[in-house]
Symmetry: C2
Subunit: 425 residues, 2 copies
């Protein structure tokens, strides 16, 4: 297709006229479509329904260590859950703590405790520093940024590409002692969709950090969540060990997108030294987490083969939706210079990178025609996307048909915003 | 029985000889009995087994607000859970947030957030003060004290009696601006067993606090957990409102001792203003809690009548155990001046107050004969019971037969420790 940049002014005006006419037609239909949230559809939730009555008799409630999961005990999780989710993270059970229903909450807790008490090797609680800074690859996950903002941790954006964060920039930043860590979603990054390269992982593990208590928060939310292709990503804990920095990384994961979002099991991985340290801190917070739900999950998922089997079903459910989004973008926008996008191999999002100063306009246009997107800016710290270019598309919840309709409106909006801008220039 | 204080030296020596002989016999049996933990026996856990498959079809998973509990949403809990646990706390649903699996964790979170960010009305985060102090009625719950110690909050012990904390002392302490709050277990206090009088509740609600952001942490762990008699305790939120201090109190509760310890549902109550404030803070911590477990609980417990019905069963299961402990104390120690104890009307503990400098010795003697008690000192901040007198007995987990045996050893140990001390004097 011809790029809008090659359009004459008259052609642009004519095009805008046509686009606006179509837009009006969509407005008149009065749609209500939502592509804003990375949550599974009910057709994915049903995969885990057999789990709900898998524990039947009294005997079913006894964990491998003899603990009755219906009672207090096992602060860091039942042994079989630690084993399964260690396998999930590619680490040892001794390096794994299984906790509550949400990995996000574990991340918040880790960061809050770092502020209150420091981490292993800290000279003092992080809150006692004048400034604590954190590296935030962008586009990134809004919930990560919210935690930092809430705790008063200054966020420094760093460009994320298909291969991970701009490591030159990261290596420069960590020469500053007040830079205490980095957010990473290493696989099918939220929302970019790329996967960290071996080089990126190795450089993160081995880089020289001025802060000896620097932490990589490795949110492996989509570790086994392929849609088109399972992309191997190096194990950060292995690499940190090899580089002589075993305590540098915290790993996070959950079954939110395997079984039930917010009603699954979440877990934490780290060096044994970090685990020992964390376990002592956790003892001030709680007696034990919901072990019934842990055991229910282990009995249902069984092992990594079991997890992979259910992930195949999720991939199958999600693929037509991602197809719908990507096809619409290809068909409607290819060659138009109205924005670029990233085809993810897995995960829950498609990132659309509009031309400068179009994201908010596209969002508003979509809204005006009944399509809700995630708010522009959410991909950046402090909701500040300096180029006003990034939009996160979340195809998982609507049906493929709804998505096709929503994408007609989205691509139309992207065209309108682009043409409007060119006419202003 | 004759008081040991009236024994001559020769009589004491003779008695000690006899007691030691008996003690040796118990040692030779090689028992292993545990009275250390306030956890229910499996014969109580089975009451809630019908809950485990109460949600069957897809339709069963839809909350009153139409939210699918198997997916994200409802940060502060599903409406029907907020209603039920508001009733539990004697407050309004709008004053109630239903969260995760443990009220202790909610308390930790509230205190950690106060340190990091302050509470509603704070001038600054509490961690920015040179000192934050907290009033701790003693004997009290070790887990409360652990939270304060972890967060570096200085604990000030205040004497607890059958009617609540020494309110004269409390009113004096709160004249100090650095005193930011107080722990309260108002009903069947852990471990004392008493219940706060109307006067104590009213004085707590209305006292003049120098810190305008003073908070009462009202851990109503045993709100409906009678064993012998349901003792009415005034509602702290009502009283705080009446006194013009609606934001002064935080209420906590859970179903840990109704359904499953650590796998139940926990909740938080406060003024609507506090709830609004807390909801915003929670948004940085998590997306939503385990709503499947919330709905499962509501469908099973139904309403306060349902809760009362299961609490009747718990009372029936616990009564013979408390009888065994109290009878042993009465039979073996009455009139001996070897310690006093409190008969609780409900809750999970019996407090034994030995003579000065006997608690550690009794603990060691029990241990030597195979009876594990909660560590002495745990009833006081920093594990510092200055009189070395308090011991917490937890009768819930062992069988009545085991308890009788354990109490034989306990009362024997109390006698030995008392006689030893008198001989030293």
């Amino acid at each position: 297709m011809k790029s809008y940049r090659e359009f004459s002014k008259a052609e642009l005006e004519n095009e805008l006229n046509e686009l606006n006419k179509k837009y009006k037609e969509y407005q008149d239909i009065g749609l209500a479509l939502n592509m804003s949230r990375g949550k599974p559809n009910v057709n994915q939730l049903v995969f885990s329904m057999p789990m709900m009555d898998i524990l039947k008799e009294d005997d079913d409630y006894i964990a491998a260590d003899g603990v009755d999961v219906r009672n207090y005990g096992d602060l860091i999780g039942i042994p079989e859950a630690r084993k399964l989710f260690a396998d999930f993270l590619g680490i040892k059970p001794e390096e794994t703590i299984v906790l509550g229903n949400a990995s996000l909450n574990i991340m918040y807790d880790c960061m809050a405790r770092a502020m209150l008490k420091g981490v292993l090797g800290s000279d003092k609680p992080w809150s006692k520093y004048d400034k604590v800074k954190w590296i935030c690859p962008v586009p990134g996950y809004d919930r990560h940024f919210t935690i930092c903002e809430f705790l008063g941790i200054e966020m420094i954006p760093v460009k994320l590409s298909d291969y991970g964060p701009d490591m030159d920039a990261v290596e420069e930043l960590v020469k500053n002692e007040s830079v205490k860590g980095i957010w990473c979603v290493p696989k099918y990054t939220n929302p970019y969709g790329g996967c960290y390269s071996d080089e990126a992982v190795k450089r993160l593990a081995s880089m020289k950090c001025a802060a000896k208590d620097f932490r990589i928060f490795w949110d492996n939310a989509y570790a086994h969540h392929y849609i088109y292709k399972d992309v191997p990503v190096l194990n950060i804990l292995d690499e940190c060990k090899k580089a002589g920095n075993p305590n540098r990384c915290y790993l996070f994961g959950s079954t939110s997108k395997i079984t039930f979002p917010g009603a699954g099991v979440a877990f934490f991985g780290a060096s044994e030294e970090n685990i020992e340290f964390t376990k002592k801190q956790l003892n001030a917070q709680t007696i034990s987490c919901d072990k019934i739900n842990m055991l229910r999950h282990v009995r249902f998922l069984k092992d990594m083969d079991g997890i992979k089997a259910i992930m195949d079903k999720h991939a199958e459910a999600l693929r037509p939706k991602f197809d719908a989004v990507l096809n619409a973008l290809d068909t409607e926008l290819s060659g138009r210079d109205a924005g670029t996008w990233v085809k993810p191999e897995g995960g829950y999002f498609v990132t659309f990178i509009g031309n400068k100063n179009t994201a908010k306009r596209i969002y508003e246009l979509c809204k005006g025609a009944g399509v809700t997107l995630t708010e522009p800016g959410c991909t950046h710290p402090y909701h500040n996307d300096p180029d006003d270019a990034f939009l996160r598309l979340a195809p998982s919840f609507p049906s493929p048909e709804e998505l096709s309709k929503a994408m007609e409106i989205f691509t139309l909006s992207a065209k309108i915003a682009t043409v409007e801008n060119l006419l202003k220039a």
